[in-house]
């Protein structure tokens, strides 16, 4: 199917171009901070996209997704503290630990549905939060400073702002591509079918929870990658990234951008984090604006910003 030229596709195309060209703009204008800011946004976009995989496509509303940010981050941070600086070890460990955590949490949580699922994932994330808060060897809840960014044997220098940005962007696009393929694959259709009607899927021969669990693990792993990136970006990791409000932030990004649409979470992350940043420049009472904006988006833009764009074509 040829992508149609409509409002949402044009916006997405423009957006991708802008993201790719951002370092050029930054270099030309000397505005370094915009690159710093967008590095963070891109990382959160990746996390949100992974949440979208389970929430938007899989119907699993995880309220504990920020846990993987922490787990990926701590994997990098703890290894760095213990003197293992190589990214070739740190990152696979980060992904593996996230996957393992997702596997355990998922296997237990997937016994429940709906709001119960929301709450049990929240519970596990909170436990992860409290456990890391108790790791006094690694800073407890004061957090852990990552003195040196992951070392990729000269292939790429994470301390170089532009290189690091492009690495993050590559991870984001890679993640999105992966998600896109998954969603349209046999596996993806089953997962979406299970979201829509589990009983029916069981009756035609699918072991619903097995697909859900695999999907859950994939999403957790992708988010673990975002966590590793975030730790490198912040040079710091602390339990605060796992607190339930951060999971809430991720959810907001996904819903705001548009659940179940590939680029929705990216747009959601950009809009949400930019709004937060910009509003805080303008006023100390940013909630007075941001809050009603969110409310209005829900009321008037079903399916988030992507939903809104999708309808603009027809109107």
């Amino acid at each position: 199917m040829m992508p149609k030229l409509n409002a949402s596709n044009s916006v997405v195309a423009l957006l991708c171009a802008a993201l790719v060209l951002l370092p050029v703009y930054s270099a030309v204008t000397g505005n370094i901070f915009i690159l710093t800011l967008f590095t963070r946004i891109v990382i959160f976009a990746l996390a949100a996209a992974s949440l979208n995989l389970i929430m938007g496509y899989g119907g699993m509303m995880s309220f504990g997704h920020a846990a993987y940010l922490g787990i990926g981050g701590y994997a990098v941070g703890i290894l760095a503290t213990e003197g293992i600086g190589s990214g070739f070890i740190q990152w696979p460990v980060a992904l593996a630990v996230s996957a393992l955590f997702a596997l355990v949490i998922g296997a237990l949580s997937l016994r429940t549905r709906g709001v119960y699922f929301i709450m049990i994932t929240l519970a596990f994330a909170q436990m992860a939060y409290y456990i890391t808060s108790g790791l006094s060897r690694y800073g407890g809840d004061d957090g852990l400073t990552v003195y040196k960014r992951s070392d990729f044997a000269g292939l790429i220098d994470l301390s170089n702002r532009t290189q690091f940005y492009y690495l993050c962007l590559a991870c984001l696009f890679g993640g999105l591509y992966l998600i896109w393929r998954i969603v349209n694959s046999r596996f993806g259709l089953v997962v979406q079918g299970v979201r829509s009607n589990e009983q029916r899927m069981q009756a035609i021969g699918f072991h619903a929870n097995r697909y859900r669990l695999v999907c859950f693990v994939i999403a957790g792993t992708i988010c673990g990658l975002a966590g590793a990136l975030l730790a490198n970006n912040t040079d710091f990791v602390s339990p605060a990234v796992m607190y339930w409000t951060r999971s809430g932030d991720l959810m907001v990004m996904v819903i705001l951008g548009g659940m179940g649409s590939l680029f929705g979470p990216v747009i959601g992350a950009i809009v949400y984090l930019l709004l937060e940043e910009l509003l805080s420049q303008v006023t100390e009472y940013s909630g007075l604006i941001l809050g009603p904006v969110l409310l209005l988006i829900v009321l008037f833009a079903r399916g988030g910003i992507m939903g809104l764009l999708g309808r603009m074509r027809r109107a």
């Binding site: 349209n184 046999r186 089953v190 079918g193 899927m201 035609i204």
Partner: protein, 255 residues
């Protein structure tokens, strides 16, 4: 008589104080169309659900194709060749009709941990799905979202989905309900054809259809089998008349 394809022994299922299935035994032989009738709440749907694994019995055994399937979860039974349609329509509402059926075909195909290729472009699945849709008369509605199909069309889709898993035994829970006269007639014709290919258990309140189709009929009342015989015998069965048919249907006769 041939070796039974499905054999149920002393099945019991209780809900609180209600015994929905009461020490029920029955057999379905290969190739037959076996109808199950009985008053509302007699336990027909509960029986089907136990056969396909949505509901687990309290006791008793279910053997299918020579294998004890009593404890198997529904997805495993489906893979063994048991398929059902639901009395209360149960479809993927936000999927198109053909996607619903293609997923069933995919389930039958058995390889669903494929993460890469575009499943909607797999000719084999699509063709199988389209064939099933054509068969139930929904060929033209393939790309319509289920939520936009009328009630009757959804009932037809139920059957198409069950068919697409290429079952050995098809359990149909009131497939005629909600169909108009034309569609009912078409369904009867379709079932007549299908029965040549697959063994069918049919739960139905439409007596004209039942008597037109069934090889044997089992009558359930309060979870118990009160009769199991060929249609003509059932038609004359006094207890069945009293509990279920009433006088009118006892005398109507269709070819």
């Amino acid at each position: 008589m041939a070796e039974p394809l499905l054999r149920v022994d002393n099945l019991v299922r209780r809900y609180g104080g209600i015994t929905a299935t009461d020490n029920l035994s029955m057999e379905v032989v290969p190739g037959e169309l076996h109808a199950i009738i009985g008053p509302n709440g007699a336990g027909k749907t509960t029986l089907i659900s136990q056969l396909t694994g949505q509901v687990m019995p309290n006791s008793g055994t279910i053997r299918f194709a020579g294998r004890d399937v009593t404890g198997l979860p529904s997805y495993k039974r489906s893979r063994l060749g048991l398929a059902r349609s639901f009395q209360i329509t149960s479809l993927l509402k936000d999927f198109s009709a053909i996607d619903n059926v293609a997923l069933a075909a995919q389930a039958h195909d058995g390889h669903s941990f494929r993460f890469w290729g575009n499943a909607r472009k797999e000719r084999r699945l699509r063709d199988a799905a389209r064939a099933a849709l054509e068969r139930v008369g929904l060929g033209k509605r393939a790309d319509v979202l289920v939520s936009q199909l009328s009630h009757g069309e959804q009932r037809e889709l139920e059957l198409a989905v069950a068919l697409a898993t290429k079952p050995q035994l098809l359990l149909l829970d009131e497939p005629m309900a909600g169909l108009g006269v034309t569609e009912s007639a078409r369904m009867v014709a379709l079932l007549k054809e299908l029965r040549k290919e697959v063994t069918i258990v049919l739960v139905e309140h439409d007596m004209e259809a039942v008597f037109a189709l069934a090889d044997r009929i089992t009558v359930l009342v309060y979870g118990r089998v009160i009769a199991c015989d060929v249609p003509d015998a059932i038609r004359k069965h006094e207890e069945v008349k009293r509990a279920y048919l009433g006088e009118q249907h006892a005398v109507t006769r269709h070819g």
